[in-house]
């Protein structure tokens, strides 16, 4: 029927034709965009290039817990402070959301009707209200706390006010590095013990108290070392001087608001994932393990959780990715993360919109890819292995 089209009905020809067409159109569009952009930039006297990164920023960043930041520092440093702040709130948020989410997911399945209903209400409210609104709400609660002079005192060392949470700052003296080394060594050795114990149990059936020995290694050994070295750690307490506290460690309300909102919002999603994961393990598994006389806690730890994790981990990964991306909302409360510090203030000051946005997007892409990469490795390690 289509003999008059001849070569056009050839699948190979068509595939090459369409792909060339698409590539051509794409190149044309790209050329158009680049030429208009360079024209626009020229007209607005914006010089392209990366040299602006070395210019002094000229503004202060109120929250930079890891790097000392002065207004004479460069935009490049603004970027690093931003990345660190983004990572800080993402990592702490992920940890808190995971813990809270697992607890809530298990409580939601509790046989106590009232408790599970309460968690249900929490989940529905926190999932169905925009995260940005929650961040702003937490922030507005935190800045309505009492002023510095009337700050609330907790345990005599923490001070809570509308300027944030002031806590003692640990000062590490010489010798503390040995304690850190001991902790790292203990972590590695308990990991090795765990592997060895598993192998031995597979071979001989004998069990080894991995948990208690690991606890002993990780906590007690460094603690003993700590005291042998003469407690090389002291605390600098915050003191009220004038209108503000001097010294100590300050956690700004912007960070607390971000941390609370992100972890509470994400925990609601995680709890639903955990619930679905646990419910996906068939009832027979629980009955069978009860029938062979396993203790209730062991049933959960050895039978239910490992199987549930297979269902839980893939959606959990996307929740971690979401949380990291959502941490960019810090701009609404002035948390100096990547988007607010570098993509916001630096961009406005230098006018280098394309470069700044490209760097910010590339950074988020690499963070996302890194999280996916590690979670995929973890996912592979817990998936069902056919022998």
């Amino acid at each position: 029927m289509r003999s008059n089209l001849g070569f056009f009905s050839d699948e190979k020809f068509r595939s090459i034709f369409f792909q060339t067409l698409v590539v051509g159109l794409f190149a044309l569009g790209l050329f158009f965009v680049i030429s208009t952009t360079s024209y626009n930039l020229e007209k607005r006297n914006i010089a392209t290039g990366w040299s602006f990164l070395q210019n002094p920023a000229g503004f202060d960043i109120s929250f930079s817990p890891f790097l000392e930041f002065k207004s004479t520092d460069t935009h490049l440093k603004v970027y690093f402070v931003g990345v660190l702040n983004t990572l800080l709130v993402s990592i702490t948020g992920c940890i808190a959301a995971t813990i809270l989410g697992f607890i809530l997911g298990i409580v939601r399945l509790s046989s106590n009707w009232l408790l599970s209903r309460l968690v249900y209400i929490y989940v529905e409210f926190s999932r169905n209200v925009p995260l940005l609104l929650q961040i702003i709400l937490w922030y507005s609660i935190l800045i309505q706390l009492p002023r510095v002079k009337q700050s609330l005192q907790v345990l005599d060392v923490f001070y809570i006010s509308n300027r944030g949470l002031y806590s003692p700052r640990p000062i590490f003296e010489s010798g503390f590095s040995y304690v850190l080394i001991a902790i790292v060594l203990a972590l590695i050795s308990s990991f090795l013990i765990n592997r060895w114990a598993k192998k031995r149990q597979d071979k001989t059936g004998q069990q080894f108290p991995v948990f208690s020995s690991s606890i002993g290694l990780i906590f007690i050994v460094p603690l003993i070392l700590f005291f042998i070295l003469g407690s090389p750690l002291s605390f600098e307490h915050p003191e009220l001087k004038g209108f503000n506290f001097k010294g100590g460690l300050v956690i700004r309300p912007e960070f607390i608001a971000m941390f609370l909102a992100l972890s509470i919002y994400t925990a609601a999603f995680i709890s639903e994932i955990v619930r679905a994961g646990i419910m996906s393990v068939s009832k027979g598994q629980r009955e069978a393990s009860a029938a062979i006389g396993l203790k209730q806690t062991w049933i959960m730890r050895l039978i239910i959780i490992p199987q549930a994790l297979r269902v839980i981990v893939p959606p959990l990964t996307s929740q971690y990715l979401n949380l990291t991306k959502n941490s960019s909302l810090g701009i609404a409360v002035g948390y100096a993360d990547l988007v607010h510090g570098f993509g916001g203030i630096s961009l406005n000051q230098t006018g280098q919109a394309i470069e700044c946005m490209a760097i910010v997007m590339a950074t988020y892409l690499s963070i996302s890819l890194t999280i996916s990469f590690f979670m995929n490795i973890y996912n592979r390690s817990i998936q069902f292995k056919e022998k």
Binding site: L114, P130, L133, S328, L329
Partner: protein, 374 residues
């Protein structure tokens, strides 16, 4: 002689239910009592604050409230709860933004038409659904002229839009535009042509890898640089471009999930009937794939609806933006809880409704598929 057995403890009825669900053993009972105690402390307080000692229009002296100083709780901290008068006074702005009052009937008609346009999408058994669907297709055009002006209506520029109007325009347009783009991207990603599949994959993964806020900045800051002079894009349109790109990538992944669930036999059968690629997809594959991906589509749409609040960061006044604007007004300073509570409630009603609807669809779909299998 025979031992008399006690009758079994009630396992049915209210008492049985209570025993089983609240007082199963002593830890359970302790938890129940503790929760009841907490609720007993909390519920009366919250009810009192939100309803019983709250001001709705008048304060406790009987005066109509015009600013925050007249709220009962600011006149007498002992004697007042929430001051909902701020919502009452600013209600127009929350719903319509700064839309001119003489033209507001147009927005009202658009709201009513939106409900009418959604009806055939939400309710499959609607009588004369076909004709309603025609209306749904032409609704965006009508809404555009009605809200924006033209065709004899006076023009109302988009910087006068605000509040719920902007939230709904962004949400609905974003979802409606992202749907066809998402389908194309999903088909493209599964395409056998390597260049097309690679380009679609790159686009989807790029958009999904960056936060929406960077895309909004992209739309606000970079889009004007990319376009030739003279094309001056409206702020709302720029934001809409960003939101649509964002949503279409997520939509594409959801639809791809649906496409993957279609058994290969369907493709083979369609091809053996001599169908072309487009006929096969339009008539055989997509109707089935979209049907199974409707619940996740609704779920991503809920996500988008919540994410529309991000536009306040680039200066568009949606519902939350109007709320923040009201708080910045010295007349209503310090009423943040009332305003955020109200905005949350509006969002909650929409998103909770959508999530219930998605659950209902999932249930319906499951029974539908099972019936097919039987």
């Amino acid at each position: 002689m025979n031992e008399v057995r006690k009758p079994p403890v009630a396992t049915t009825g209210i008492i049985g239910w209570l025993r089983l669900n609240l007082f199963f053993n002593w830890t359970n009972s302790l938890i129940t009592l503790f929760v009841i105690y907490c609720l007993y402390q909390f519920i009366p307080w919250i009810l009192d604050w939100t309803i019983f000692s709250a001001d709705f229009k008048y304060n406790y002296l009987g005066e109509q409230i015009a600013n925050q100083e007249m709220c009962s709780r600011n006149l007498d901290p002992e004697n007042g709860g929430a001051c909902w008068a701020v919502i009452y006074v600013r209600f127009y702005q929350f719903i319509y933004g700064f839309y001119p009052k003489v033209e507001v009937w147009r927005v009202n008609i658009a709201y009513a038409m939106l409900a009418l346009a959604l009806l055939p999408l939400l309710y499959a058994k609607l009588p004369y659904r076909k004709y309603f669907l025609y209306f749904t297709y032409i609704f965006p055009v009508i809404a555009y002229f009605l809200l924006n002006g033209g065709l004899g209506f006076t023009e109302v520029s988009t910087n006068k839009w605000g509040g719920l109007l902007v939230t709904l325009v962004l949400g609905c347009t974003g979802i409606a535009l992202a749907f066809p783009i998402g389908i194309m991207l999903a088909l493209g990603r599964r395409s056998k042509l390597p260049v097309i599949s690679m380009m679609c994959t790159l686009f989807i993964e790029f958009i999904r890898g960056v936060p929406l806020i960077t895309l909004l900045f992209f739309g606000m800051v970079m889009l004007p640089l990319f376009l030739p002079e003279g094309i001056d894009m409206d702020g709302l349109v720029r934001v809409l471009v960003a939101v649509t790109l964002f949503q279409s990538a997520y939509m594409a992944e959801v639809i791809r999930g649906g496409l993957q669930a279609i058994p290969p036999g369907q493709y083979e059968a369609a091809k053996s009937l001599g169908m072309s690629y487009w006929r096969m997809n339009l008539l055989i594959i997509l109707p089935q794939a979209i049907r199974i991906s409707i619940p996740p589509i609704v779920n991503t749409s809920i996500g988008l609806f919540k994410d529309t609040t991000l536009v306040i960061i680039v200066g568009i006044l949606d519902l939350l933006g109007i709320g923040r604007g009201t708080l910045a007004d010295t007349n209503w300073l310090g009423l943040s809880y009332e305003i955020y509570f109200f905005v949350s409630l509006v969002f909650f009603i929409f998103t909770f409704g959508m999530s219930r609807y998605s659950l209902y669809l999932e249930k319906k779909l499951k029974t539908g598929i099972n019936m097919g299998a039987d």
